[in-house]
Amino acid sequence: MILTLTILLAVIIAIAWAAFNAAYLVLAERRGAGIIQRRPGPNINGPFGLLQPPLDGIKLMAKQLIIPDGADKFMYISAPVLVMCPAIMSFVALPYSDWLQAQNIDVGLLMVFAFASMGTMGIVFAGWSSRNKYSLMAAMRSVSQAVAYEIPMIITALTITLMAGTTNLDAIVAQQSENFFHWNIFPLFGETHNILMPFSFLIFFICSMAETNRAPFDLGEAEGELVAGFHIEYGSMGFGLFFMGEYANIVIGATLATIFFLGGWSCPFGLFPGVWWFLIKMYAIIFTIIWIRWTFPRTTIYGLLNLSWKILIPASLVNLLLTAGLMKVF
């Protein structure tokens, strides 16, 4: 009984953490974009605009939910849920420090990827059920994008697994915990490391941006050409959930990158490891993602697919093979 309650509590905390991050990253993104673009961003509600996310939430919830004529009602309503729920589920397996984790799962890595893939289904549901040609086109784009980028992402994760010899996220971090140079991103030190790791990190980073539909890969919403993409017909909290789902996915992507390559909660100097190091690293990656979004134009759908099928997938495969080879030799 107590065990069940603890798990329940842990899950609730994970959900709250996901929702909190999703809400406040929207604010961070808007403020960050503003500062990059020489304007203040939302700064009226509360100190530094900190009340903006809850007020936005209230506004969105107060709005009428409009279901377009001829839309597939069930799919239309379930789509935002299908985007948000798997994202939150992934948080259950993510470790933030050696004690802060909802549930230590041996196949944590697999579980996170399994849930992350489900988000695409929500996008397809939304695009298809809205009965709008623009959203349908966006959904088609999203599917091909998700298929194209999941492959190199998982192959890269496989490379990590190969080296770490485990799919337990805790264990992967533990191997890098000694100091700065034992992080997986650094090629030369540590017993499991090899020269290809920076490339793996680059591939993983690009893929996680593409997986989360972030600029310059936001072909799914491409507001210039497809108006608002798959969520064109969504208003109210339905739209809000898509929005939060996107940010929750960013957090997952950044968390995984931190665990795989940046040594998780270990301190660069071997001092006071703890959850704060994890958060610093994770938010640095998130900042980079936001920064990239506000710097570059969007690619085209063919450019995006070419990048994956012609460059990233072969590169990640070669990377996997070479890693295996290097491990055999040394």
Binding site: G224, E225, V227, P297, R298
Partner: protein, 570 residues
């Protein structure tokens, strides 16, 4: 134009009457000779740019120059030798009309459509003679003199565009068999009139294979407010505020183009200072217009930050404009014979401040865009146009120059001392969207160069001509002297009397050649005022540009062409 050109024209077309109006050669031909004359002009005289097609209705004209009620004017330009030729012919029966010129120039397609729409003059053999500026349900032809200016019509139904789109689709090789084999079909999609990328209200009906555009038709006229009809009811000076609303991104260039055309025909010599003022402000507005275009194009490719680096400077520049003429967007800054106001005190310093800010902003934006391969992949080799195609479709300005044609009125027909400035005319090397985008950065730099030179050269003195027949007298005279008051009354009530005649004059606006075709009956009100907006013919080429490309390509192409609804729809 030199005299030999006129003699040569007369020799080549003995049956036509050949006259010279300002520096335009005017040929009056019989209807039967029209097609041969136009073809010969294109082939033997190098007039390969059809600037405009318009009609004239002489119903209320005092002592009309011909017995027929209607006349159609083709305005052609030989851009190499700076020769403008107008070919005019009377229309005895508008229902039968004239043979079309759309087989000679692609631009005649839209030009003649507009002429039919506004005057009801038929063009036999025209491939697509439909309404263009007015709505499909509209009855009558508004620029005819017997159409009352205040008549209203209620138009209820939107144009489905199905028939023209399917006709266009049928004329293409779309690989229909392959599609049937795959079990797919063509998808029809409306882009616009309210779509983020149309930046106003333009509608594109497209037939798609996946995301590839197979056929495309454009519906314009959402912003049509009858500028030309309105102009016929106002005095020459009263039309100036209306010209602001043509290309609202560079309102003062429209003001300048408009008054320049009138001054040229009425032989009004404006002061040196006013000329330099118009150069400085014209180039400043060229910069602002390009900033808007680049900023909007940046948004359409998804680079939103680009927008702020460019648009902030433009907004700040409006502070300068409002100090100068009292309005931010709508300048209304010129008058026939001069300017509304002289520069305010300390303008040089402010101008230099804004130029420096624009240089920095445009530099930042160019740094983000120019060498970035993401952008290059999106824009290079997309929607390419050859120089021949561009000329045939009547493109002018940066869009034409990006296709590699070095035609710029500031170089080829200099006005306002443009030959005294040292500047470059950038031309593109591929004629693709990337060139259309990049050429505007370069033109911003060149315009800044011109402004800096002009600021050094600008003389003092008055800005307005001292002629009570042309310009309002000074307020001090109006308040105190009866003579000044009388002149003031006469100017306001009757306007500037422009001699009887018909003429065309072009100006290098930010988007291309902005031309005005006037018919004057000698009074203070234009009998007819036809605008040749550069956007109109540019958009006419849009379907040919984008067919075969993807939706995303069409969108960036649209924003890099810089279509402004105000002047497109008038």
């Amino acid at each position: 134009m030199n005299d030999t050109a006129l003699t040569q024209l007369q020799e080549a077309f003995p049956s036509a009457t050949c006259t010279q109006v300002i520096d335009t050669a005017v040929l009056d031909v019989q209807t039967d000779d029209l097609t041969t004359t136009l073809t010969a002009l294109k082939e033997n005289f190098g007039c390969d740019l059809l600037l405009d097609v318009t009609g004239i209705d002489y119903l209320t004209y005092p002592k009309p120059p011909q017995k027929e009620r209607f006349r159609v004017v083709y305005t052609l330009r030989n851009w190499r030798d700076n020769l403008v030729v107008q070919v005019r012919t009377g229309v005895s029966n508008p229902k039968i009309g004239l043979p079309t010129a759309s087989s000679i120039w692609e631009s005649a397609n839209w030009g003649e459509r507009e002429c039919w729409d506004q005057y009801g003059i038929n063009f036999s053999g025209h491939p697509d003679l439909r309404r263009i500026l007015n709505h499909v349900q509209f009855e009558g032809h508004p620029l005819r003199k017997d159409y009352p200016v205040d008549k209203r019509q209620v138009l209820m139904e939107s144009d489905s565009l199905e028939a023209p789109l399917k006709a266009r689709l049928a004329s293409k090789d779309t690989g229909h068999e392959a599609m049937t084999e795959l079990g797919t079909d063509v998808m029809f999609l409306n882009i616009g009139p309210a779509h983020p990328a149309t930046h106003g209200a333009i509608r594109f009906a497209v037939a798609l294979d996946g995301e590839t555009i197979l056929a495309n038709v454009v519906e314009i006229g959402y912003l049509h407010r009858g500028f030309e009809k309105l102009a016929e009811k106002h005095t020459y000076n009263q039309v100036i505020p209306l010209t602001d609303r043509l290309n609202y991104c560079s309102s003062m260039m429209n003001n300048i183009a408009y008054v320049k055309a009138i001054e040229k025909f009425a032989n009004i010599e404006i002061t040196e200072r006013a000329q330099f003022m118009r150069v400085v402000l014209g180039e400043f507005y060229r910069i602002l217009d390009h900033l808007v275009c680049l900023a909007a194009a940046g948004v359409d490719v998804g680079g939103l930050t680009n927008y702020w680096y460019l648009y902030d400077e433009k907004e700040a520049a409006y502070d300068f404009i409002s100090k100068l003429c009292g309005g931010r967007l709508m300048s209304t800054a010129t008058r026939i014979g001069g300017m509304y106001h002289d520069f305010h005190e300390g303008w040089e310093k402010e101008m230099e401040f804004h130029l420096a800010a624009i240089e920095k902003g445009a530099g930042d934006s160019q740094g983000l865009m120019e060498k970035n391969r993401i952008l290059q992949d999106r824009m290079q080799n997309v929607c390419r146009f050859s120089p021949e195609q561009a000329i045939s479709f009547g493109l002018t300005g940066p869009n034409l120059r990006s296709c590699g044609v070095p035609f710029d009125l500031r170089k080829d027909a200099p006005y306002y001392n443009y030959d005294a400035f040292d500047f470059d005319i950038p031309i593109g090397s591929n004629g693709d969207v990337y060139d259309r985008f990049m050429i505007r950065y370069e033109e911003i730099k060149q315009s800044i160069r011109i402004i800096r030179q002009a600021m050094k050269m600008i003389p003092g003195g008055p800005v307005n001509v001292n002629d009570p027949q042309v310009h309002l007298p000074k307020k001090a005279q109006v308040y105190t002297k009866i003579e000044g008051l009388a002149n003031h009354f006469k100017m306001v009530f009757e306007g500037v009397h422009v001699p009887k005649g018909e003429w065309y004059d072009g100006y290098e606006a930010a988007n291309g050649e902005l031309g005005f075709h006037f018919v004057s009956d000698g009074s203070g009100t234009p009998y007819k005022c036809k605008v040749r907006p550069p956007c109109f013919y540019t958009l006419g080429s849009f379907p040919a540009m984008v067919e075969g490309s993807m939706i995303a390509d069409a969108i960036v192409n649209l924003s890099c062409l810089n279509i402004i609804g105000g002047e497109l729809d008038r």
